[in-house]
């Protein structure tokens, strides 16, 4: 089951107009849980108007820096990223799960490899973590970064990348490709497409000696780059992807609220068992069992809230509930009384459900 830990915000710094770098410090002895690997991400949770949102952001710090930092770019209409960019400040507390993700390859201090990174916009965050860690831990390896942005003023970590170039002279190279700002070399203007990559591989990047390529950016860019890398002879095991889709899955609206909440016809008494403890709560029939449990501070399991992943499955022991969607449970499970609690509304005035069965 997902476990969230408290993290103290020790610094919030703007990198460009609409992106911040947030420095975090695990508290209450959670430091060990946050011993991350380069390229991993954190999943945060926060309540917005009574609804919990979960959002994932990549760690941008290198392993050797001894700090925990994530980059958060504001997304239009994004509640969490807007809040982080406008209101989050040092001293606040955030809640996150331990680092997750497999966007990395194992490092070896004696290795002499060449790595190639592609980042689009805020996709730089995990790539930055990877390249900083790699350059520090593999003194004989080199790293080339192709970094795509709209224009000069939207380049996240521009100065930090310049500093790294000086620090790792001859081992680290950055090619900025800008969509709208003209550059001295035509090739470096426009989008990073399959064709653009093929051209870069002709003169600018020694593709034949690349051991591993990392790609993090928008979907079309990832497809184009991957196609170019495959044509250049890299196989799937040499290409590492990280994708954070801009379109986050939507949230199911509650069923139309009952007009007369005081009427017992719209109220249910629900006994909910979780981790061996049973709570009996009054809930509206316009609310899912999962939301009722969450609102009553029960740490009920859930993930997709879309009736799909089956993480929120519970068993109805008494009473009747109605599932509005079910993409996960098979008929036989439903026959046994299992429901997806995120999709289940009480029908009878009394229900007894158990998450432990």
């Amino acid at each position: 089951m997902a476990r969230f830990h408290d993290l103290e915000v020790t610094d919030v710094r703007k990198t460009i107009r609409d992106a911040v770098v947030v420095t975090l410090k695990p508290v209450n002895g959670a430091a060990e849980a946050f011993d991350f690997t380069q390229g991993q991400y954190l999943t945060f949770r926060r309540d917005f108007d009574g609804e919990e949102l979960r959002r994932s952001y990549s760690i941008c710090a290198g392993k050797d820096e001894g700090i925990l930092q994530v980059g958060i770019k504001r997304v239009d209409g994004g509640a969490f990223s807007t809040w982080a960019n406008t209101e989050l400040k040092a001293g606040d507390t955030l809640q996150a799960m331990a680092p997750m993700g497999t966007f990395f390859t194992p490092l070896d201090g004696t290795a002499e490899k060449h790595y190639l990174g592609f980042a689009g916009g805020s996709g730089i965050t995990p790539v930055l973590s990877i390249l900083k860690t790699t350059l520090a831990e593999e003194p004989k390896s080199s790293f080339t970064l192709v970094y795509a942005n709209k224009g000069v003023n939207t380049i996240m970590f521009r100065e930090e990348l310049e500093d790294l170039k000086n620090l790792y002279m001859g081992r680290f190279n950055v090619i900025h490709v800008l969509e709208s700002d003209a550059q001295e070399i035509d090739l470096f203007t426009g989008l990073v497409t399959e064709e653009k990559c093929a051209q870069l591989f002709e003169h600018w990047i020694d593709i034949e000696n690349v051991d591993t390529a990392f790609i993090c950016g928008p979907e079309p860019m990832m497809l184009g780059i991957a196609a170019a890398l495959r044509s250049a002879g890299l196989d799937d095991s040499q290409i590492k992807f990280e994708l954070f889709a801009s379109a986050q899955p939507g949230r199911a609206k509650r069923k139309a609220a009952a007009t007369d909440a005081a009427s017992s016809a719209n109220q249910t008494k629900a006994a909910i068992t979780l981790d061996g403890a049973t709570q009996t709560i009054e809930m509206g029939k316009d609310m899912t069992l999962l939301d009722a449990a969450l609102e009553n501070a029960m740490d009920a399991p859930y993930a997709c809230k879309a009736g799909v992943c089956s993480t929120c499955r519970c068993k109805v022991l008494e009473g009747e509930v109605e599932m509005v969607a079910n993409h996960a449970l098979e008929d036989y499970e439903v026959e046994k009384g299992y429901v997806l609690s995120c999709q289940a509304y009480p029908v009878t005035d009394n229900v007894v459900v158990d998450y432990d069965q």
């Binding site: 709209k150 889709a245 992943c309």
Partner: protein, 253 residues
């Protein structure tokens, strides 16, 4: 970099997903089922095989069997860990179920699963002794190698990586079973073994799923499948038949 592309068309064009947060609901359901099928099959397969270890003729055979049990359990854990990323309670998952449970030897379940888990139907049949286990492990081992080659390309990167790490080890299991089969043929001749091949052949063939699976196109569009079930099965039939031939055995009629 502001081009919009739906996850659906991204996947249809060969795109790769990398973490639970951008996995669409239907994809998630199919991915979870695919992972559960693998985990349950490995756990059930390892559990069934564990009982056979002591029947192995000699130390080497027992070591090979024990190793297969150990490694299949390890493979289950690798994939279960990815299910855990999606919120599955991995400890409860591994312990909640009697993985050694089997049906009757002659139960006629075709491709259906039992009511309790997602293991492939073939893992519901009981093993009856060492030779039986070797034959089953050989035929299913060849099938697993082909199925894992197919699944090493799934569009969920962490799972594709897990399957790529698992594939060479499972390939070795199939080789160990093949070696075991040859030892048996040498010792007792093909006669008694042919009966076992006849028993397991159709049951392993059924593990490739339905030939005209309507789901295939949907799974293909999600990047979760590439090769139709019928093609994979035909490859297995050829592959297994060639090796059986070397042992003086033949596929079930």
């Amino acid at each position: 970099m502001s081009e919009e592309m739906s996850i659906t068309s991204y996947l249809a064009q060969g795109g790769v997903l990398t973490n639970p947060s951008n996995v669409p609901p239907r994809y998630r359901a199919e991915l979870m089922k695919l992972m559960a099928t693998f985990v349950d099959s490995e756990l059930a397969g390892a559990a069934g095989f564990a009982d056979i270890i002591n029947e192995g003729p000699g130390i080497k055979a027992r070591i090979a069997a024990a190793r297969i049990v150990l490694e299949k359990t390890d493979h289950a854990e690798k994939v279960l860990r990815i299910m855990g990323d999606f919120g599955a309670d991995t400890e409860r998952y591994a312990d909640h179920h009697p993985w050694t449970a089997r049906l009757e030897r002659e139960a006629d379940i075709g491709q259906s699963r039992t009511k309790h888990d997602m293991r492939l139907a073939v893992f519901n049949y009981p093993l009856e002794g060492w030779a039986d286990a070797v034959v089953m492990n050989f035929l299913m081992g060849r099938a697993v190698v082909l199925q894992l080659e197919e699944l090493s390309h799934v569009s969920y990167q962490p799972l594709a990586e897990a399957f790529r790490a698992i594939l060479p080890v499972e390939t070795r299991h199939a080789e160990l079973a093949e070696e075991g089969l040859m030892v048996l043929v040498e010792a007792q001749g093909p006669d008694g073994l042919q009966e076992l091949v006849d028993y397991w052949w159709p049951r392993v063939a059924a593990s490739f799923g339905q030939e005209d699976s309507e789901k295939f196109e949907g799974l293909k569009a999600m990047g979760l499948r590439r090769t139709p079930n019928a093609d994979l099965k035909a490859r297995w039939q050829q592959d297994a038949a060639d090796i059986l031939d070397k042992a003086g055995l033949k596929p079930a009629a």
